[in-house]
């Protein structure tokens, strides 16, 4: 972890929760499935376990809710889904992000073809 990676990890910290909200926008998921989808995107997740404290916080903030479902074997598992509050946080962020991304792109050197 060199100093040069620091801005990227700060960025990741900021956007990760909205990526979680976005994955839950259309369907409810088990923690495991959610985590695997996030980590299939390169550079998004460093330790898969750290998603769970994030999910707890989103639940406390009322953006995510859990429902229990019976599993084939063993105790019931929790499904995560988005609340109305979570949907509105996601759409606000999506607008903010597009503006922010365009602003940064307009200042950074152009991508060479």
């Amino acid at each position: 972890m060199g100093g040069a990676r620091q801005p990227l990890s700060q960025l990741r910290r900021g956007v990760l929760e909205y990526c979680v909200l976005s994955l839950l926008a259309d369907e409810q998921l088990y923690g495991f499935d959610l985590v695997r989808r996030l980590s299939s995107v390169d550079g998004m997740v460093t330790g898969e376990g750290t998603i769970y404290p994030l999910l707890s916080r989103l639940r406390r903030e009322g953006r995510v809710t859990t429902t229990w479902s019976e599993s084939e074997s063993g105790p019931p598992r929790r499904y995560y889904s988005l609340t109305a509050n979570g949907h509105s946080a996601l759409s606000t962020f999506t607008c903010d992000w597009r503006r922010f991304r365009d602003a940064v792109d307009s200042l950074l050197p152009q991508e060479s073809q």
Binding site: Q10, L11, R13, G14, Y30, G31, F32, D33, V35, S39, T46, G47, E48, G49, T50, Y52, P53, L54, L55, S56, R57, S71, E72, S73, G74, R77, R78, T92, F93, D96, W97, F100
Partner: protein, 164 residues
């Protein structure tokens, strides 16, 4: 016969997590351990873990229990609602509790004038302005409360002793 070995890996991992999580609030700790357990169970059920190596990979991907707990601690601190400001502002943690310097500041500003006139409040003011615990506005108020009575005293005594 690797099944007991796989189970042992899980037991060891959860035990490490429980140890690391002992500093978290009880509710958070129970949730976290339960969720990690479910993660492992779901993976097994989904056929993502077939042997010992598979389980090691699964646990590696979860990360060090201590790192998970550290991130839980970050997420426990209540944070104001924020959007993109998270990128723009400096990454500062939650406000630190009052340290010795802050306590010394308040004592010096309050009692300093009685115990060590002039020097006491002066040191207090320096401490006040060098602390990151207070906002600018709070620092201005603190300074005014400390300096104004002294100024008032000086002005009054000049007026009283001035030959009329």
């Amino acid at each position: 016969m690797t099944a007991p070995l796989i189970e042992q890996l899980v037991v060891d991992y959860i035990a490490r997590l429980e140890r690391a999580a002992s500093t978290l609030p009880p509710g958070d700790r129970a949730d976290l351990i339960e969720e990690i357990r479910e993660h492992i169970d779901t993976a097994k059920e989904a056929g993502a873990v077939s042997d010992e190596a598979g389980m090691r990979t699964l646990l590696d991907r979860l990360g060090e229990p201590e790192a998970i707990v550290a991130s839980a601690r970050d997420d426990t601190a209540p944070r104001p609602d924020r959007q993109l400001s998270a990128f723009v502002e400096n990454p500062v943690g939650p406000a630190s509790p009052w340290g010795g310097l802050e306590i010394a500041t308040v004592i010096l500003l309050g009692l300093g004038a009685v115990v060590i006139p002039i020097l006491g409040p002066l040191v207090g003011l320096i401490l006040l302005w060098s602390s990151s615990q207070w906002t600018r506005r709070q620092k201005r108020i603190g300074t005014a409360i400390t300096v104004l009575p002294t100024l008032l005293g000086v002005v009054l005594s000049v007026l009283l002793f001035l030959p009329t």
